[in-house]
Symmetry: C2
Subunit: 160 residues, 2 copies
């Protein structure tokens, strides 16, 4: 299966354990994204729309981009996503985590985050951070993420 997967999803692509024997899911860091499909996925979980050109440049400058695909040799469908920025050595920050609503509740988000953490670990990052929405705080906590260690608070600055 690995060779077939890599021919469709790029080098290093690997299967994600599936909740349904009839359907396969695949992680890939190399298969290019259709930016319209990606924005549709992100909007399906409530992120606001962003200009495609900006998204393209942001992806190009991200440390890691992970697509989770519902496998189909002809028409793979992007159903999950996460990306990271960072220096690749000391720190990485996870952004834009999404699992399409109809695929939520089957453990795919948990597997996606485990895949992201493992991938960052492999390149040597030892501290990973993210900003969790109120609705997903318990999701991250249950996986071992530590909320506000040593009293850290998150602060945002929005440019005019």
């Amino acid at each position: 299966m690995t060779l077939e997967i890599e021919s469709v999803y790029g080098e290093g692509a690997c299967e994600c354990a599936s909740p349904d024997k009839q359907v396969s899911f695949v992680f890939s860091q190399t298969r290019p994204f259709d930016l319209v499909e990606l924005e549709q996925l992100l909007q399906s979980v409530g992120w606001s729309q962003r200009p495609v050109g900006k998204v393209r440049r942001a992806l190009d400058s991200s440390l890691l981009k992970v697509g989770l695909w519902k496998h189909d040799p002809c028409f793979p469908r992007l159903i999950g996503f996460a990306r990271c920025t960072g220096d690749g050595v000391i720190d990485a920050t996870v952004w834009d985590v999404a699992i399409h609503p109809i695929y939520q509740g089957f453990g795919l988000g948990k597997q996606l985050m485990a895949y992201v953490n493992r991938s960052l670990h492999d390149i040597g990052v030892r501290r990973i951070t993210l900003f969790a929405d109120p609705g997903v705080v318990s999701f991250y906590k249950s996986q071992g993420w530590i909320l506000e260690p040593k009293g850290h608070r998150c602060a945002f600055w929005y440019a005019n």
Copy 2:
């Protein structure tokens, strides 16, 4: 003064308003850091020591690195620092903010953060984030940083 400053601190270096007429301070994004001096500065404000090789690679992969120097044409002294990671388009995250303890309390930290925000704004970043220690939460709040907007919480993952 600009030309003299640029010859010592690199292109684009600029003066920081000084609390003392006898002393000048300069911001630079291009003057190289002596990594031992940088680590001494970061340790003076309580950051833990990190391997020099890792710090070098982290700096190389940072979006922005700002040194705040106490001006001396022969022996400039690094008394402040901040760096940012990010995609350079949508998000940037500020790390390793430090003003040497003997230069704290004169508004230099505030100017450093304003300089960082302006520089990120100039390259197009519209949302800047950071993780604030409990001791500096009020410092950031007083400058207009928004704590945990929309109930965001910060989460950390430490690799084994």
